[in-house]
Subunit: 185 residues, 2 copies
DNA sequence: GTCTATAACTCGATAGAC
DNA sequence: GTCTATCGAGTTATAGAC
């Protein structure tokens, strides 16, 4: 009755709200409305479940990326759309995102795919956005990496402080800096 | 013989290298070269030790901040010095920094002081740096917040990918954007 | 797919000697 | 400040019935 995918969805949802921390297999299973035995049945082990959660988070990131990047919009609007969509997604899943990021930095088995997976797939669309803003070609790659880092850093700030207005204002500063440069070239 | 401070230093060092994760009090004590009984004696509980680790990390951050900000240097050099010093400190303690940041986002008891402590103390020196770069007064506060977020986001990238050259290039882009604006004002 | 039972450990914390 | 001993609870994972 309780299929694997339904269980996985509920796991991502629960862990996004409460964190992984050192939650036990049994407590987690109970929170998901099932038994520890069922988690073992579907995922093999506690670590197997975490590995599946990581794969699911990666999949959701790709979906978000595809949804955000609408190449038919004017480029300046794309920058703001990008920021808005990423913020919306992050307010739901951001705490899990940063916790898994920390796990990946520590080379924990289940999070290892994220070491490149949290960075590489995001760069090409941002490079396209930079080109749309007429960033000089030799600056496109570092500027895209800068924009990605800034988004992550601002989300880190937002999730810690909740200072939405101040963080939005900082994001707008980067937009201004990039747009203003393109007006001079 | 094994004083509280020596134990704390070793704990910060060990956790910086290996992460907190769900390490047990007993295993951690063993890694520190003492017994679980001694950790309880000095810190009261496992959580008491983590609380002390958080306070120590906060103290180290303040020390770093004081060391980095030398108001007698030319301002443009200060920006690069700032970045270099933060990178050096982060390569030692960055994984612990981001793990504790994730704990703070989840409102875990021991990490709660970090919710504002990872952001607020860093802003005034960066605001001073912005003023030194002739950023217009109404943009100083959001630009400082932007610079802080960018540093954190780039460190997040660096710790995941190890792409030192690419990350340095992205940091230099922000420097360029800020300096170039000041040349026009 | 779902359940109970249980093996085999490890946990945090305490007691109390030295 | 350091040690051993131990309590009571909770842990992952497995066995096997239904």
């Amino acid at each position: 009755m309780t299929g694997r995918q339904a269980l996985l969805d509920r796991a991502v949802d629960y862990l996004s709200r409460s964190g992984i921390g050192d939650i036990s297999l049994r407590r987690l299973a109970e929170e998901l409305g099932t038994s520890h035995r069922m988690v073992i049945y579907h995922f093999g082990s506690r670590d197997g479940l975490l590995t599946a959660v990581v794969a699911e988070v990666e999949r959701q990131q790709r979906d978000l990326l595809d949804a955000v990047m609408d190449p038919d919009l004017p480029t300046i609007e794309q920058g703001r759309d990008y920021w808005r969509a990423v913020v919306a997604a992050t307010e739901r899943h951001g705490r899990l995102f940063f916790e898994l990021g920390a796990h990946a930095m520590q080379d924990r088995e289940h999070a290892r795919p994220l070491r490149r997976g949290l960075i590489d797939p995001w760069l090409p669309p941002l490079e396209a956005l930079c080109r749309g803003l007429d960033v000089p070609e030799q600056d496109v790659i570092p500027t895209a990496r800068l924009a990605l880092a800034t988004a992550r850093g601002l989300l880190f700030d937002l999730l810690l402080t909740g200072d939405r207005v101040e963080v939005d204002a900082a994001a707008e500063q980067l937009n201004q800096l990039l747009v203003r440069r393109s007006l001079r070239s």
